[in-house]
């Protein structure tokens, strides 16, 4: 079954609207696209459109949070993390405010809209901010859980969502805890650590490698920050080699975050799957995944490379 992660977010918002009087939603003129509109439909008095003013929206969200509300501020990832970065830094992260920043249309899977709308830098831009947490759900079920968990979590959170429908790979009873990675497949030869849309590709890579008698652990690191050091170090210690896979620039992203943990603790070979120092371009999501070498086969190839270095 295919479903975009933004849909899971929208469903969670509607649930939260009923349960939590203090939840308010802001959106910068992308009400349908971000699914913020699903909340607006039922709770219009707690929905505030800011027009195409992302910087202003972040400040308004800060004022609402300072008044005890739990604001979800929604726009595309590029604009949340790029256009409004200083507002996120000073008006939200510096004061450790309880604002949930929702960046939909993350990654190159935005597709045809091209470079200006493809967020490939937000994991980096957000995780470098003190106090900020970063969550990248892999499917709609996880996105729903992540939204609910963010609402209960004290402090600023960046939630990265996607536009395109993606396979459902977790279940309603799969545990979700902010900062706690999930082992989706266990294995002993190496570990693929991934988040977001590439978790599905990682699972496919696991199958490809299985046919080659390579036993692979797949770790869903849905929370790049706060990072689950224990799960990463266990993976390194128990399987001895790591491949990271992300729909994001390699500079500063998930792979960097994992490498930071590893190099301070244990030296094992690492290979990175991700976008290498270039902007995106127009194309269908599947064409772009091939162009940027983000497919299951690319992950499997990185796995073979890392095993040769083990």
């Amino acid at each position: 079954m295919l479903k975009p992660t933004r849909d899971g977010f929208g469903e969670a918002l509607v649930e939260l609207g009923a349960k939590r009087e203090d939840v308010v939603v802001l959106c910068a003129d992308l009400t349908d696209s971000t699914r913020a509109g699903w909340f607006k439909k039922y709770y219009p008095e707690r929905f505030f459109g800011s027009g195409v003013s992302e910087q202003d929206m972040m400040g308004t969200a800060a004022g609402l949070a300072l008044s005890g509300k739990v604001p979800f501020a929604c726009t595309f990832g590029v604009f949340a993390a790029g256009r409004a970065w200083d507002q996120v830094r000073v008006s939200i992260a510096y004061m450790n405010l309880n604002v949930k920043i929702v960046g939909s249309h993350g990654g190159i899977s935005v597709g045809e809209d091209g470079t200006t709308h493809q967020a490939i830098e937000e994991i980096t831009l957000m995780r470098v901010l003190p106090n900020m947490s970063v969550i990248v759900p892999c499917d709609a079920i996880e996105a729903k859980k992540a939204t609910l968990a963010s609402c209960d979590y004290q402090g600023p959170v960046y939630l990265r969502l996607g536009r395109s429908p993606v396979p459902i790979i977790t279940e309603n009873n799969t545990p979700f805890e902010i900062g706690k990675a999930n082992i989706l497949q266990d294995g002993k030869d190496m570990t693929i650590i991934s988040c977001g849309h590439l978790v599905y590709e990682a699972l496919l890579a696991h199958e490809i490698l299985k046919k080659e008698n390579i036993s692979t652990r797949v770790l869903n690191l849905h929370t790049p920050k706060p990072i689950d050091k224990e799960a990463i170090l266990d993976a390194a210690g128990e399987t001895g080699a790591i491949v990271t896979a992300e729909e994001h620039l390699l500079a500063g992203g998930l792979g960097s975050a994992v490498a930071e943990v590893l190099v301070e603790n244990i030296i094992v070979p690492i290979e990175f799957v991700g976008i290498r120092d270039r902007f995106g371009e127009s194309g269908s999501p599947s064409e772009l995944f091939k162009l940027f070498k983000l497919t299951a086969e690319d992950i499997a190839e990185a796995a073979r490379r890392v095993l040769r270095r083990k």
Binding site: D56, T60, L64
Partner: protein, 274 residues
């Protein structure tokens, strides 16, 4: 409407605040002198007359909110908060020192400081957030947001201006410290703001003007904001950068410079004389 307070008493406070600001800055060895001295009467009118607040209970839910969007003017805000009773006066002289709660630009955590600020243009959006929450909670609190004139160059200010009028936030009161200078020089030479009244007015705001150093003018103007229904109000407060010290007034080199010992002594002597 509250009765007018004793103006002579407010003037005495203003003299003390200017004295504190100058001593704080001299001891810190750096900081923003001109734009701290220009907002003294505005802050005193708010904290000693206009606003509902309780220094003994800084987080009182029904308090009015003051946001210093021009964060570099914080020496004045610190001095006024201390004079109002938010924290002991001794702490003023820790300004900008390692470990202080009186950071170079305001940091939430010091009693009375509502927001961290310093990166310009962000305060009015936050004021709107407070105001929307107050409307949701059916609270009658008012939100005051003091901006610099140079700060109005920031596009976010005008995004927020549109938001406030769109949502009919008549509980928001913006104040512009219109001292006619920004860091690089006179506003009219760097990036002219005029016609400023018309700008705010065309953004849907109720616009008032005041003499920013005259307590009667400030009090009377602040007392007119309640008459504006469904429209936010902005007060263009005409001020003098460096006000109160002859060799600092309208002398833009004092924008971001603290007085040295000898300059402090001259300045304090002048204040005593006035």
């Amino acid at each position: 409407m509250k009765q007018r307070p004793d103006i002579e008493y407010l003037k005495k406070i203003a003299k003390d605040i200017r004295r504190d600001i100058l001593i704080m800055l001299e001891r810190a060895g750096s900081g923003h002198t001109g734009g701290s001295l220009s907002i003294v009467e505005i802050l005193i009118t708010l904290y000693f007359y206009k606003m509902r607040h309780n220094p003994k209970e800084p987080n009182w839910k029904e308090r009015d909110i003051f946001i210093l969007s021009k964060g570099h003017g914080c020496p004045c805000l610190y001095a006024v908060l201390s004079a109002a009773g938010y924290f002991p006066k001794d702490e003023l002289f820790t300004l900008r020192k390692l470990g202080t709660r009186l950071q170079g630009h305001p940091q939430k955590g010091l009693p009375g400081i509502e927001i961290s600020s310093g990166s310009l243009g962000q305060g009015l959006s936050i004021a709107n957030g407070f105001a929307l929450a107050a409307k949701l909670d059916r609270s009658s609190k008012r939100i005051y947001c003091l901006m610099g004139d140079g700060e109005l160059d920031e596009g976010q200010v005008w995004e927020a201006a549109m938001t406030a009028s769109h949502y009919k936030l008549d509980n928001v009161c913006g104040i512009v410290d219109y001292n006619k200078f920004q860091i690089d020089g006179p506003i009219k030479d760097i990036k002219d703001l005029e016609p400023l009244r018309e700008k705010w007015s065309s953004f849907g705001w109720n616009v008032l003007e005041a003499d920013g150093h005259n307590f009667i003018s400030l009090i009377d103007t602040f007392n007119r904001i309640e008459t504006s229904k469904e429209k936010p109000t902005v007060i263009l407060a005409h001020t003098i950068k460096g006000k109160g010290v002859s060799f600092m007034e309208n002398e833009n080199s004092w924008h971001g410079v603290a007085p040295k010992k000898e300059e402090l002594e001259r300045a304090l002597k002048e204040l005593e004389g006035c």
